[in-house]
Symmetry: C2
Subunit: 228 residues, 2 copies
């Protein structure tokens, strides 16, 4: 599948690297290709410079947001949630129209440090904002509730645990669920939260997730639904 991943950070790299290793035709989108490749220092999160990462993933090409989105039959928003609407504007509505737009972003406001708050919450969500801004895109919110490495290697967390999808388009959710399955998430682990309003739930889980992570001292965890 031709897939565009928007965002060169930890989540973007994890998704692009894994999707490429699985045999998909993957490109990564960034604002300015030259600037992204010119960096020689680790980023604020300690990730190695993108050029170094790309050297280890030669099959993944770096393009502008617009060129990447034009390439993808499916587009993954892996940009920081606080700037995702700007990133998608740069990608261009025409390059998103009719496509599955898989939104992984968490709208974290890190301006006051950790623990984060959200830039949108409670009466709206980033997933809903994106679907409203791009009504012709088939937005699926999915994979937001775990750390990047757990997203693409669910076996890092032992046993059964759950992941969530939300969106208006059942076929689009099925496509994303199929890709998640390729990462190693069994179909029965995937909980369908219904329409795109379900994005509100998984995004608001973010502050709870960070509080749990601080208590546990690790990001290598997930939740399992246990029911009677």
């Amino acid at each position: 599948m031709k897939i565009a991943v928007l965002g060169t950070g930890m989540v973007g790299r994890a998704l692009a690297g894994r999707l490429s290793a699985l045999g998909h035709d993957v490109v990564i989108g960034t604002r300015t290709v030259e600037q992204t490749l010119a960096r020689t220092e680790p980023d604020a999160m300690g990730n190695v410079p993108f050029g170094q990462w790309q050297g280890e993933h030669p099959a993944v090409r770096l393009l502008t947001f617009a060129d990447a989105a034009a390439h993808g039959d499916l587009v993954v928003n892996a940009s920081p949630g606080a700037i995702s609407l700007t990133v998608l504007e740069a990608a261009g509505a025409a390059n998103l129209s009719g496509k599955v737009l898989w939104d992984i972003a968490l709208p974290l406001d890190l301006s006051q440090g950790l623990p984060p708050t959200l830039t949108v919450a409670n009466t709206d969500s980033l997933g809903e904002q994106i679907q409203r801004a791009y009504p012709d895109a088939r937005v699926v919110k999915a994979l937001t509730t775990v750390f990047a490495e757990v997203m693409v290697h669910p076996g890092r967390v032992p046993g059964e645990h759950n992941i969530f999808v939300a969106g208006e388009d059942a076929d689009a959710k099925a496509t994303v669920t199929e890709l998640i399955g390729q990462f190693g998430w069994p179909a029965k682990a995937v909980v369908d939260l219904g329409g795109i309003r379900g994005a509100r739930g998984v995004e608001m889980y973010g502050p709870f997730y960070f509080a749990m992570s601080a208590a546990l001292g690790t990001f290598d965890f997930n939740i399992a639904i246990v029911r009677a």
Copy 2:
């Protein structure tokens, strides 16, 4: 232990009934005793009239919020979160001072129907509001993340699953954790989220919880943390 439960709804009844059955000296607080007892119809949630419930729990006396809070060495806020600050005002600061104030309330805004939004979220929480309003009370946010019957009978959900406490006062958290233990929650199931800001996490989990509940078709569930 002398315990006051503020709130005559589903959560208040579940807590008061269970605490009383465990041998505690429990009173329930309400705004107007006569009005609460005069009701002859089920409430909006389908709960039986309070007088009928009290007939089945004769050891639990019904008092005003202030009289109940004065009785309790520990006070449980089981009122609807949207009105909890008003309820606590009626209970009176003097009757809360120095005491463990166990806040179970979820600040649901049900004015637009289901699924609910929250009356406070993201940059503040009900738990934090209560602690600020009553700096001499030792506020513990706990047990907010499950359905009333699961709160007091965790064995309804099989196997291991988790519950959360947050608050500034370690002794107060230990007291609440001990009571939770009497309900059947093993100590290892209780995750300490740190200070009262942790209330934000468990309250914001609310919309996610309701979305999961809708997907599962039951409230008889909980989450288990699974870690590497």
